[in-house]
Structures are given as C-alpha cells and as structure tokens.
C-alpha cells in the first residue's frame, strides 16, 4: 500500500514537472509580446541621443530586432533549449551568468526571512488562537495588523535608522557579512509573519472547536497535546499554503527591500532590465522565476501529503 502511494506521488511529481513546459512557453510568449509592444527601442538606448534613425535601423538589423515577433520568439526558444539564454543588450554579458549570479543572493535572503517568518508566525498564531479574546490575543492581532499595514520600505528605513545608525549593531546595506541578513530578513519577515500568524490563528480556531479535540480532552489528553498533536496538524494545510505563496514572493525578489538595503538580488535586476528594455535579461529572470515558482508549488503540494494522510492516500 505504501509503495503504491510513493509510486503515485512520483507519477504526480513527474506530471507536474511536465506541465512546466507549456507554462514556460506561455509565459515567455507573453513577456516577449509585452516587451515588443512596450515603447522604447533597445537599439536607440544603446546608441544614444546622437544616433540617426539610419544608424538605429542598422543596429536593429544587426540585432535582428526587425524580424517578425514569432521568428524572434522561436529563435529564442531554439537557443533556450540548447542552454543559451542570450546576451544582455545593455551589459553585453551572458544572461545566464548575470541571473545566476544574482539569484543566490535572493534565495539566501528569502530562506532566512522564511525561517524567521515560520518560527515567529506559527507560534504566535497558535498562542493567539489558544488565548482567543484575551489581552494576549489582542496584542498579537495588533502587531500583525501593524505588520500588514506598514509599508515595507518605511519599516526598512526605520530599522536602518535604529539598528545601524543609532545602535551600530548591523550594517545598513549590502550582503557581505552574516549581519547583513538580519535587518532585511526582519523587514521581510515582519510583513509576511503577520499574514501567516493570522492564517494560523483562524485555522487553529476552526480546528480547536472540532469534536475530536473535545473528545481528546475528555479522554484525559493534556491541553498541550490536544493543541499541538491533534489540532495543529490539522490546521497546518492553510498555513502551508500561505507560507508557500509567500516563499514564492520572497524568491521573486522583494524590490523594495533590495532597493532600501542595496541587496544585489534578482528583483533589482529585473527592474533595471525592464527600464532598459533588455528583453533577453527580462526573459531570463522570468523563466528562472517560473521554474522556481512551479517547483516550489509542487513542493508545497507534496508537503500536504506529508502532513495529511488523507491527501497521501489519494496518491495510491
């Protein structure tokens, strides 16, 4: 029976990986069309104000920008499947080198922020649910409301002012030391933590009121075991979903945090590339993020199976 489940999960996993292909195709086509329609000529941006239209046209010809959209798109796909993601129009560097150089910075920050989020948000959500309608619950709800409402860049600047400038505890920018991770991670986590803890709280409230929890308590189960062993696991599904969505957002690069903390991540790279009409770079970033999001969503789906035996059983 267990082997059937594992085989079922493997087949599901492979199906989902295979689904990535039309997703990537669809997204790259959409981005290609959008970048083509957006005003702003990369050849003009490269050559500058003094170039005549003839010179711009000549460069466009050399860059093959005047080819029909579909021809350019299929040429891109052809190179893509051979591992060539193109060269940046502006930086004259391989897109793969540039994107893969920046992405690990975003992953590291996202990872630290996600750990902070989970380890702060989930306990807070549980406490708030257990202590519903008490002062503790109110305090937690106010904190989470602030977290959701506070603009992230403003929080970032406040943290820098207090902890970098006034106290000198952490650096205000960059990614070179382990201390550099603390403030941007707190900034990201504070906002995300609010959503996760509220979701955990509402999910727990629903679960705690279930009959089986009351039965467990009646049978002599300790309150601690009733909450953590019985209620919590059943309340995890929505929490995992929200964590997964937020992890996807973190991996997409929080542009505002990267801007405030001068974090060399993929968010800033994408904005710079869009502003520079650097289509190969934009596509490279988007394709990478599409793959990452899809794999992450798949991982979240697998987590459901780990947490909930009923879902696991569906794979057999």
């Amino acid at each position: 029976m267990q082997n059937e489940v594992y085989v079922g999960m493997l087949i599901y996993f492979l199906k989902r990986i295979a689904q990535l292909i039309p997703v990537i195709l669809g997204i790259t086509l959409i981005i290609f069309v959008i970048m083509s329609l957006a005003q702003g000529d990369p050849a003009r941006l490269i050559l500058g104000e003094w170039a005549t239209q003839e010179e711009v046209d000549q460069l466009r010809q050399e860059m093959r920008l005047d080819d029909p959209l579909l021809i350019r798109y299929f040429r891109y796909l052809y190179n893509f499947v051979q591992g060539d993601f193109g060269t940046s129009y502006i930086k004259s560097r391989s897109v793969a080198t540039e994107v893969l150089g920046r992405f690990p910075n975003t992953v590291r920050l996202a990872f630290v922020a996600a750990i902070l989020t989970v380890f702060l948000a989930v306990p807070l959500g549980i406490i708030a649910s257990v202590k519903q309608n008490t002062a503790v619950d109110s305090i937690i709800m106010v904190i989470t409301l602030i977290g959701i409402s506070m603009p992230i860049f403003w929080l970032g600047l406040l943290l820098i002012l207090q902890f970098s400038l006034k106290l000198g505890w952490f650096p205000s920018f960059g990614s070179e030391s382990w201390q550099s991770y603390i403030l941007p991670a707190i900034c990201l986590a504070f906002s995300n933590m609010s959503t996760v803890s509220r979701t955990t709280r509402s999910s727990m409230l629903e679960t705690i009121r279930q009959d089986y929890v009351r039965t467990a308590l009646a049978k002599g189960c300790s309150r601690h075991d009733a909450v953590y062993k019985h209620a919590f696991r059943n309340a995890l599904i929505p929490t995992i979903t929200v964590i997964g969505i937020q992890m996807s957002q973190l991996l997409g690069g929080s542009v505002l945090v990267e801007q405030v903390f001068a974090w060399p991540g993929i968010g800033r790279l994408m904005i710079e590339s869009i502003n520079g009409r650097d289509t190969p770079m934009v596509l490279g970033c988007i394709v990478l993020l599409t793959i990452v999001f899809s794999v992450l969503n798949l991982f979240i789906d697998m987590c459901y199976a780990l947490v909930d035996p009923r879902i696991r059983g569906q794979y057999s």
């Binding site: 957006a38 050559l47 005549t52 930086k91 600047l157 820098i160 920018f173 960059g174 201390q179 405030v260």
Partner: protein, 502 residues
Amino acid sequence: MKRLLFCVCCIAILFASGLFVVDKSYAANAKDTLTIAMMSEPASMSTVNNESMDPIYSGYLTHNFLMKNDPKTLEPVPDLAESYELLSDTEHVFKLRKGVKFHHGKEFKAEDVVATINYNKTFPGCKPYVGAIKSVEAIDDYTVKFIMDKPYPNLLNDLTFKVNFIQAADLIKKGHNFDNEPIGTGPFKLVEWKRGSTIRYERFNDYFNKDEVTNIKTIIWKVIPEGTSRTIALEAGEVDMVFQVETADIGRLKKNEKVAVEEIIEVANYAMGINNDLPPFNDVNLRQAIAHAIDRESIVIGALNSYGVPNFTSCAQNYWGSTTEGACTYDPIKAKEYLSKWGGDPSNVKLSIICWNPMLVRVGTIVQGSLEENLGIKVELEEVDSATFSSRRASGQYRAFFTYWSPSNSFSYVTRYHSDKRSSVPGACNDPKVDEYVDALRNTVPADLRLELTHKIIARVNEIAAQPSLFQPYTFRAYDRKLAGAQFTPHGYAYFHTCYWK
C-alpha cells in the same frame, strides 16, 4: 507560553549584551581604503557605446585622456599629452608622455591614440567628439598629429570628454571586451566587480603621475540605490563618501560635524524641449509666451528645495561665452503680449510635457501652474520611464519634454542648436540664422570671434525660444571630514584618486 517568554528574554539579553555586535568588519574605516556610496553601477564600463554617467566615473580611475579638464577652470590641460601645438588651422600636434604604462604592461605610444580615435569613430554616440577629426597619424612613437576636416576650435575640449579615454591599440585590435574589463593607464585598476553590489579598484603602482599618488590604495564602490540609505551609511561610518546625495538629507548632513558637504552648481542646464514643428508650437510668439510665463524661481524653491539657480538663457550660465542677451525672463505681462501676438485661443492649446523622473514631475507641476495661471494653457504631464522618453523623443512623438545637457563647454552646448540635431531629435531647433552662426562657429578658431558667435547663437535661440531653459541644479557631495583632496567638477565628474586621509 512560559517557555516562549523565557526564550524571548534570553534573546533580548543576548542583544543587550552585544553578543551580536562584535564584528564590524563591514565598517569602512581602513585608512588606505576609500569607500564610496554610488547610486548605481555601470551597465558596461565602456563609455563609447552608452550614454550613462557611471562608466565615466569609473573611467576617471582606470583611464587617462590625451587632454583632461582642469576641475577648477574647466579648461583643457595636458594629461597623457605632454605638450600641444597648433601647426595650422587644421593640424594639431601632440607630444606624448614617455614611460606611461597600461595596466596590462604595454607602453603607451602614439599608435594607441590613433587606434582609440579610429575605434571611437565607429560609434554613433562618439560623433560629437570625434566627428570633426578627419584623420590621426602617428608621426613617431611619441608624437601624434590630428588632421581636421576644416578649421575646428574645439578639439582640445572634445579630447577631454568621456568617449576619448585612451585605450591600448593591441586590445582594440584583438577585440577586447572593454564593457566588462576596462584596461587603461589610470591611477587605479579594476580588480573585482560583484554585480549589483561592489566594484573594487586597486592602485596601479606604475601610474605615471607620482604627484597624484596618495595614501589610498583601494577604492571601493558600494552600490546603494536608495538615497536615504546612502546617507545613513555615511553617518554610520560604513562608507566614507556619498557621491549622489539625496536632496532631502542635505540639511541633516550639513549639521553633522563628522561630515563635509560640498555644493557645486552643475553645468547641467534643464530646459523644456518644445516640438518646433508641431502646430501651434511652431509659432515663435506662442513659444515666447510660454517661455516668459514659467516661474523659474518657484521651480527652484518648490521642486529643488532651493538647491539650484533659475536659468533664463539658452546655455548653462557657468560656461565661458554664456550670455543673458535676449533671455526669456519670468514676465507674465510680456507673456500675455506674446500670446496676443500669436492670436490663438489658449484654451485650445494641447500641451503635454514628458517627465521621465520624479524630480521632473515636481518641476512639471509648477510649470503646469505657471502656464495655467498666466496664459490659461492647460498642461498635461506624461510620466514615463527614460526608455520610453528616449524613444518618443527620437521619433518626434512629443509636444514637449524636459531635458538637460551638460557637455564639456559652451561650444559643445550651442552647436546642438544646429538643425542637424533634428536627424536624431525631430522637432528640435530649426532656424537658418542659428545654423549660419553654428556653421561659422564650428570653423572659427580665434577666441574673440568664437565669443561673438557664441553670444549670437544664444541670443538668437533666446529670441526664438526654441528650448526655454529652466534651471541649473546644485549637486552635493558628502564625505568624512577626515578625507581631503577630493575634486568634483561642475560637469558632475570626480577625481577620486586624489583623495587622501588626513
């Protein structure tokens, strides 16, 4: 709950004890290092194939010119050239310094100058600065002759400008990647580039000008896009200098005893480019009305926090040769007179102005108010990014836009009013008299005659209000007071390598 409270208390005690505080290796206070906070990094280190300023800042560290700008007088002075002689109206001879080395070991010779100029001629963006050069010849290893098409007065200034950093002939020949690996004769060489983060330069020990060698061996650029973050980094001691200071932070920095703030009036002259071809803006009376109706003082106060000077004339005020003759001062009465001369209905004028950054939106808001109040013209502001602006300007799809110029001198400035500019900016100035004066200026060498022609061009452009000037902003640079020797130019460049720790 109790366990959680216990953990929180432990963490708080640990923070308070400073356990997390010990390592300050990120702080910038090594005395042989200069750490500079920059707003952005170059997309490419080459200055010939892009219009960005960032590669120029880097180029001042890694390269030299044949002639360079004196940061105080803005006049060209020898750099890699030892001396200069005008053989005839069209022949300029430069004697080159001996014993100068490139970072890769090659000795600098005349062939490098020849190769650089010929290489630059292949890039459209270099046209204003090498277009007048017919040919360059190496007379011997240390003598080079420039032959111009016609008598041309601005060669020395052109050679001081960004595109004319001298490259090595052997590198040009083998198609070296100057975009990512700059190699020059400059006082510092690029040793590490972490994209989006830092650029590190180390002193070039074989640099020819020993007078410029200071106690700084390493220069690090830290890329910090957010202005307030740059300021805080300086205040916290994490960087030694902020090159682009956020306007909102200037007051605070000036009060900081550990920080020196330098204020420079830029030569960058912000103006409103009006489409001179598009009705009704092709009527000079309407353009004059608009030019006289804009309250430039309010722009400086409202949009720039008073960090700038209003400009009413069609050239930056701090250039040699600039004049206020015929300047379009703020005069609502005169504006109404010109409007009457135009004779149209101002409520039918559809004026949209392209603003391509937030500061220009603030400027535009004040221009909007001025024109509505004084002329009854309703202005629409179009907020776009710089790529869209560039495209629309090049295709003539605009009624007006805000722009700025900051070329090397008044010659380079006023010659842009020639109608040949319209091949890249449709709708730009198109006046036969301006063309006549500019054509004459391009071939006039004596200084007194050039001065007269420059005045004529500016006065005429003022008269036709082709591109009303608005203001020149201040630029601020801030740095640790223990630092000295920094030289900042009104063009917006800097000689970082002359800095030293006191």
